[in-house]
Subunit: 414 residues, 2 copies
């Protein structure tokens, strides 16, 4: 039995125990994890120091180093996030619907955990806690594989959590870390059918594409966002400038940040200098179509790659369009189907845009930055789905479950 | 542009037109299709005759020939099935939920079509009509790839449908047949990301595994069923025998037929001869564990392969178990998570079984044969999902849709 198959078998063995655990026991485990993160803080910081030391020796840049760094305040924050899960509704056991059929069969559609959730991530060490605890609350066994740059931190966090889980009587194997960070192990994990029920990649576009291309497991695609703001001919231009600025600069590194600005030709000459004036305060570099460059002399010429880019930076592509339909076609061609927004005063334009744009979240007169589990009222999120199967948009606890039909009869045959 | 990419591009181009079509127009298209199937019956029968001729020349067996054969009565039946879709509720546009957030954003979660649905099938020619019409009613563009043995029939049926669709003002490309039945074309179809939103294989276990292993598209796994009947110590044995017989012999070739019988040791000596007596009328061959073979002298010894087999035939594996837990463990090991049933008078056993068995449909005192869209009240089904993402169990029109968030604001920024 290979290393990865053995981990899979241990996850599989832990599945029935967790599926049958009640909400109270799962909440006790969450409370124990939060407490342990605080009491064992020093051990976690020590492990993190090793990762930071290795990262520095390897010449990692400052931004990446900052992402990797754990501090007392950050661990306190992680522990508080775990505690916030306790108050959220447990989706397991919710009755979705039910009926009595003409033949007397009583059919109930009930929510149950997905089973074993595999997560491949490359982000900050907090992901190991977030993901494992979201899975725990939703009754799922988690099998997590992070990057090698955070291996000491991830291992320490997982040890703390597993001990806490055992302290309330649950099997430690309901959460496991894949400690071998080799590429071949990740490849094997992506094809572990029969052990892993669902695979969720969390990270950049490269990771997500690698998983989509190579996995034979059901995958939930998350997170890449080439989000658009379209300023219609009838837009309130002050509102449009404020929304564009917020969507671009409030947190450029996240998937719901806007990357492309489309402006109706009727208002381009008035609007483009207005929005540039605001974006200049954050030194946003604009990549424009020829008409944009004619209006904004210091915009750089946009290429096809710019229209398709998820910059995650203080950069934005800009295009002047002759009609709402041209904007819709541009979005259909370049959007990653995450979040797109129209700024308009026209009811007709708003209705056409929200119907025609095929994205997880379509906005009228608001910033794309609101596409988020917390902002949508889900309480917490495991990611934002940009695919159409199972879940679309922010995925909370309910999206980490599936359904099961339970049918009671008195001897019915067909 | 390759042949397959060109078909994909045509599907993609047809998507917006169909997504915006109202229920009335879609129903008109269904009525036109049903009418055209009847008026153009002779052309369809002529095309089918060519397939039958080729099949006979190739030495196809009688059962397969019968599956391939279309008759006037069968085409009438297909047309009637299309008409039945007209009365079903259109899932597109259903509001799933909605809320006004503290910041005033109004969020609505609305049902929308999946987009372009790819279907790879190997069954009877009626699948081309069923699948295309279920997709049409749910607003989805369909791209269908059948087997080469039915290519003339499938092509004729598709031509009739496309003309009918155009006659009510919808683009013909909302449904297309992949007329090149080469293996490499199927491989290319499985990796047509960017054109196809979801891929649904319909056919035997071999086809489904090939799609799971090779596709980079989101796949809905359907249909393989190694279904179990477990006869508990407290079962009503007459009921248990009647249910076992019904689940095994009423239609052995379908996925919800039972393949394995588990019997509690306390009742094995009494029950096994009873059920054998009934199954003998249908000449069912039993493959038993040593204890079964000791009780039923003409049962054949079961192998590991027998416990895992989806026979789709008048064959059944049989095992005597010492406890409910042993039955649950056996099902966990061998079930395809389709449908499993317990026959019991014990409330405790029923509750434990329905909680612990991780299948799409878990029955108490009823035949597994009821796992079916029609029997569950969905009206029609595109298949039965045995995976956990998106849909589980019978998939009707609603399971052919996804959701979209539409958010209205008045300039909200974050």
């Amino acid at each position: 039995m290979s290393y990865m198959t053995e981990l899979g078998a241990r996850s599989l063995a832990a599945k029935p125990g967790l599926a049958c655990a009640g909400t109270r026991q799962k909440n006790q485990a969450l409370a124990a994890i939060a407490a342990a993160l605080r009491t064992e803080m020093q051990a976690i910081l020590n492990a993190n120091a090793k990762d930071l030391e290795n990262a520095e020796a390897a010449g990692m840049n400052k931004i990446m180093m900052d992402r990797l760094r754990l501090t007392e305040a950050r661990i306190q924050g992680i522990a508080s996030s775990v505690e916030e899960l306790i108050a959220l509704e447990d989706p397991v056991g919710l009755i979705e619907s039910g009926s009595t059929r003409p033949n007397g069969l009583r059919i109930v559609k009930i929510r149950v955990p997905l089973g074993v959730v595999g997560i491949i991530f490359e982000s900050r060490p907090n992901v190991v806690v977030d993901a494992a605890c979201l899975c725990l609350k939703s009754g799922n066994v988690s099998l997590l594989r992070g990057g090698k740059e955070a291996i000491h931190s991830n291992t320490a966090l997982m040890q703390v959590m597993r001990r806490a889980v055992e302290s309330v009587g649950l099997p430690a194997d309901i959460m496991q870390l894949v400690e071998n960070t080799g590429r071949d192990i990740a490849q094997e994990m992506m094809r572990l059918n029969g052990y892993i029920d669902v695979l969720i990649p969390r990270g950049g576009a490269g990771l997500i594409q690698a998983v989509i291309q190579n996995s034979s497991l059901p995958v939930i695609e998350t997170g890449t966002g080439n989000c658009h703001i379209y300023v219609d001919a009838s837009a309130d231009l002050d509102m449009a400038a404020a929304i564009t600025n917020n969507a671009k600069v409030s947190r450029p590194s996240v998937c719901n940040a806007a990357e492309s600005l489309l402006v109706h030709a009727d208002v381009a000459e008035q609007f483009l200098p207005m929005v540039k004036n605001i974006l200049d305060a954050s030194h946003v570099v604009l990549y424009g179509c020829p008409r944009t460059c004619a209006i904004l002399s210091d915009a750089l010429p946009a290429t096809e790659e710019d229209y398709a880019a998820e910059y995650l930076d203080f950069k934005m592509s800009v295009k002047v369009v002759d009609s709402l339909e041209e904007a819709i076609d541009h979005i259909a061609k370049y959007s990653t189907h995450h979040s797109d927004s129209i700024i308009t005063r026209s009811l007709e334009s708003a209705e056409r845009f929200t119907q025609a744009v095929d994205s997880a979240a379509v906005y009228v007169n608001a910033s794309t930055r609101f596409t988020d589990g917390g902002e949508f009222g889900l309480g917490a999120e495991i990611g934002i789905s940009t695919q159409k199967l199972h879940a679309r948009g922010p995925m909370g606890l309910k999206e980490l479950t599936t359904i099961k039909y339970i049918i009671h009869g008195e001897g019915q045959i067909r």
